[in-house]
Every structure is written in structure tokens, then in C-alpha cells.
């Protein structure tokens, strides 16, 4: 059973590597959006420091949501998605594979580059560390919940915008505690509570989201 999981992940990663541009567009979108804010708000460091975490997190939300459309659309177009749904292997596992590959291509790069952008906002190294840990816990949840939205809006016209409408309200708790973790650590409070809650979002999401996505895929495909 795990062989099929590895196979799906490996296949998707090779596909993603072949079209490296898609991965980079998500990354560049993230960098550009984060860099826009100082231009809009002004260069004072203390203001930027105060809003740094929030800006990075909102940009991460938008970037990971931008690439949700691609999670199933290619397979939906050429019919491999139907084969996946019909395969004897548990669909939840296949979906988990696809979500993991989506996270590796659009979630992890954000986490790796976030400290660089945090420096732009004058965040201290301690805050940057908390930011990376929060993003590490939070972005998988974004991919998992986003997968449900992507599966529901499969093949719909205007699906991209629709996914954001469906999925953004569900991202809000992750945003609140993700950005809250960094604010707490900057104002001297302990950020463990926020990180623990992010973990608390991740655990049920890992269990229920793939199952719900599988259900949504069956709805969209039959």
C-alpha cells in the first residue's frame, strides 16, 4: 500500500520538476507579495516589524492557494484521476500522496524562503525561528484543506476564484495562530501555545482532509 503512496509522490514530483516554472511562480508570487507591503506601508522598521508575521502568513496563504488548481487539474484532464479513483488502493492514500507532493512543491519552498523575507521586516532571529516552525506546521494544513476545495471545484469554469472563496474562511484559524505565534514570541510571551494549536489543526486535517477530498473527488467525477 505504501508503494503506491511513494509512486504517486515520486510521479508528481518528477512532473513538477519537469515543469519547474510552476513551482517557481508560486515562490516568486510569495516573494513579490511580501515585498510589496513595505512599499505600500512605508519604510519605518518598527511598523514593519509589527506586521511582518501577518504579511508573510497572508502571502503564504495566497501563494499556496494559487497553486491549488494544479493539484488535480492535469490528472483530471487526461483521465489519470479517474484511474486513481477506480484503483483498488485506498483513495485516501492516493490523495495524501498528491497533497504531500503539492506541499513539497508549493508549501516547503515558502517555508525555506520565509526567513529571508522576515529579515526584510526586521524580525529578530528568535522570531524568524518561530515563523519557520509555525509555517512548517501551518502550510501542510493549507494544502490539506485546499485539496478539499480543489476537488470540489474540479473542472468548473472560474474554479480558481471559487476555490479561494470556499477555502479562505477555513484557513483563518491557521492564519490567526500562525501569525499569533510570531507576535507572541516578539512580545516576550511563549509561542508554544500557538504552535501546539497549529499542531492540533494539523493532526485532524491529516486524518479527515484526505478522506473528505476522496469523497469530493467521487462527487466531482461521477
Amino acid at each position: 500500500m505504501w508503494a503506491v503512496f511513494q509512486c504517486v509522490v515520486r510521479r508528481d514530483l518528477t512532473l513538477a520538476m519537469r515543469r519547474r516554472a510552476d513551482v517557481l511562480t508560486t515562490l516568486f508570487f510569495f516573494v513579490i507579495v511580501v515585498s510589496l507591503f513595505p512599499l505600500g506601508v512605508g519604510p519605518e522598521m518598527d511598523i514593519l516589524r509589527m506586521m511582518g508575521a501577518g504579511v508573510v502568513w497572508v502571502a503564504a496563504l495566497l501563494a499556496s492557494m494559487l497553486s491549488l488548481g494544479r493539484m488535480f487539474s492535469a490528472d483530471y484532464a487526461d483521465g489519470t484521476l479517474e484511474q486513481m479513483v477506480l484503483s483498488p488502493q485506498p483513495l485516501t492514500l492516493l490523495v495524501l500522496g498528491k497533497v504531500l507532493s503539492h506541499w513539497l512543491t508549493s508549501g516547503l519552498p515558502l517555508v525555506l524562503i520565509a526567513p529571508l523575507l522576515g529579515i526584510q521586516f526586521g524580525l529578530s532571529t528568535q522570531a524568524l525561528l518561530i515563523l519557520v516552525m509555525a509555517l512548517l506546521l501551518g502550510t501542510p494544513v493549507l494544502s490539506l484543506i485546499g485539496a478539499v476545495g480543489a476537488a470540489l471545484t474540479l473542472g468548473l469554469r472560474g474554479g480558481g476564484v471559487l476555490v479561494s472563496l470556499l477555502v479562505l474562511p477555513l484557513y483563518i484559524p491557521v492564519l490567526i495562530f500562525g501569525a499569533g505565534a510570531v507576535d507572541a514570541s516578539m512580545s516576550g510571551l511563549a509561542a508554544q501555545a500557538h504552535l501546539a494549536l497549529l499542531g492540533a489543526f494539523l493532526a485532524p486535517a491529516l486524518v479527515f482532509a484526505p478522506w473528505a477530498t476522496g469523497w469530493a473527488l467521487r462527487i466531482s467525477l461521477d
Partner: protein, 248 residues
């Protein structure tokens, strides 16, 4: 012989359509009567609040609207869920019928909340936990309605929106709690809508009457809308032809 009440007798559109038709006038009438009583109690019997003066009278529509917006979302999610699990078309149609009224009450709760906040707190919008959660609830309603509108095939639309409603209703408590935590952590729970220090009895009864008035109103409007949905969904069936011919 026992009670062999066929639970599913009224779950088929053909039998529910005339039943709903007969019930609507009663609910509509009750809604009007209760609203008149509620407003009379609210404006002419309930005393002036010593702290907020007359401005507090907005409570008689703000609180019922907020409660209705939350209640309707849960009821809508249950109908959508039942429609998804049991494949009963009427339940999904009921969920569609509920959504617009729920969204309207959410907007009204935000609007009256803002207009009440201005004299009490001095600003139109305060990032109070309740107001923020209400705003997010409005996004959930809009998401539900737009997903249904985006899918042409009615069967898929019913099941997709059903799943979205279930996912949404599971997240509503999480969102409410995290927004409350976010609000208290940021600037402390200094700002709360104090619904009257100790709710004076006539204020309470006036508000309770208004809540029931809004219930009756919702049921009446939703029943009319569900009848429209049923006609549209089943326009090629014979029972629709008979209903239309009799001009019901």
C-alpha cells in the same frame, strides 16, 4: 399494528409541495403578528436603558438576526448533509432555500451591529470577536451559494455543496474559538456588546418575541423558496404539471 408512520412520506417533493403550500400562510401570519407585538413591547413597554439611553433598542433586531444567522447555517448544513448522505433531493433543495435568508440575516446582524457600535463604542467597525466571526460566517454562506451556482449538473451540485456545508459546519466552532482567542490576546476583551447590564424583564420578553417572529418569517420565506426550487428541479414531472395546471 403499531405506528408505521412512513417517515419518508413527506420527503418526496410531490407530497411536500402541497403541504408546504398550506403551511405558508400560517407561518407568514404568525410572523407578522409576532413582529408587531415584539416591536410594540420593544419600543413602548421596555424602559430606557440607563447607560445606553434609547440606542440599545437596536438589540431587538440585532440579536435575533445574529442568532438566526448562526441557527440557519447549522440547519442548512444538516439538510445539506442529509441530502448528501441519503441522496434525498428535497433536503438539498431545502439547504439551497435556507442559504439566502441566512446570508441576509448575517448581513443584517453586521449592519445593525455596526450601527449600534457607532454610538456605543464610537466606531462603525470594531474587530470584536463576535463581529469578526459573523463576517466569516457571511463568507461561508457566500462560498456555499457560489459553489452551487458554479455547478450545472444538479446532482453534483447538491452533493458538492452538501460536502462543503459539512466541512463548513465542522469549522464554524473552530473559527469562533480562534477568533475569540485572537481578539482577547490582541487588545483584551475590553469591548463586549453589553446586552443590558441585567436584562430587564420586558426587554427580554420583547427580544424573545422578536426571535420567534424571525423564526416564523424564516420558515415562511424558506418554504416559498423551496417550492420554487422544487418546481425548477422537477419541471418535467407530472405532479408539477398538475400543480401548475391547478395554479397552485
Amino acid at each position: 399494528m403499531g405506528l408505521n408512520l412512513n417517515w419518508f412520506k413527506y420527503s418526496s417533493p410531490a407530497t411536500f409541495y402541497p403541504l408546504a403550500g398550506k403551511m405558508i400562510p400560517y407561518f407568514a401570519g404568525l410572523a407578522v403578528v409576532l413582529t408587531v407585538i415584539g416591536l410594540y413591547l420593544g419600543f413602548f413597554v421596555a424602559p430606557t436603558d440607563f447607560k445606553q439611553g434609547e440606542g440599545y433598542r437596536i438589540i431587538f433586531i440585532h440579536v435575533p438576526a445574529a442568532w438566526m444567522s448562526m441557527l440557519i447555517y447549522v440547519v442548512m448544513a444538516v439538510y445539506a448533509g442529509v441530502g448528501l448522505v441519503f441522496n434525498t433531493r428535497l433536503s438539498s433543495l431545502m439547504a439551497y432555500a435556507l442559504a439566502p435568508t441566512g446570508a441576509m440575516f448575517t448581513f443584517l446582524a453586521l449592519w445593525t451591529g455596526a450601527l449600534w457600535g457607532k454610538p456605543m463604542w464610537g466606531t462603525w467597525w470594531v474587530w470584536d470577536a463576535r463581529l469578526t466571526s459573523e463576517l466569516i460566517l457571511l463568507f461561508l454562506y457566500i462560498g456555499f451559494m457560489s459553489l452551487r451556482a458554479a455547478i450545472d449538473d444538479p446532482r453534483r451540485a447538491a452533493r458538492a455543496s452538501g460536502l462543503l456545508a459539512i466541512v463548513g459546519v465542522i469549522n464554524v466552532p473552530i473559527i469562533y474559538k480562534s477568533v475569540e482567542w485572537w481578539n482577547t490576546l490582541h487588545q483584551g476583551a475590553t469591548v463586549t456588546i453589553s446586552s443590558g447590564t441585567s436584562m430587564e424583564s420586558t426587554m427580554l420578553t420583547a427580544m424573545a418575541v422578536m426571535v420567534f417572529a424571525f423564526w416564523m418569517y424564516t420558515i415562511a420565506v424558506v418554504l416559498v423558496r423551496v417550492r420554487c426550487e422544487m418546481l425548477e428541479a422537477e419541471q418535467h414531472t407530472d405532479w408539477v404539471a398538475d400543480a401548475v395546471r391547478e395554479g397552485k
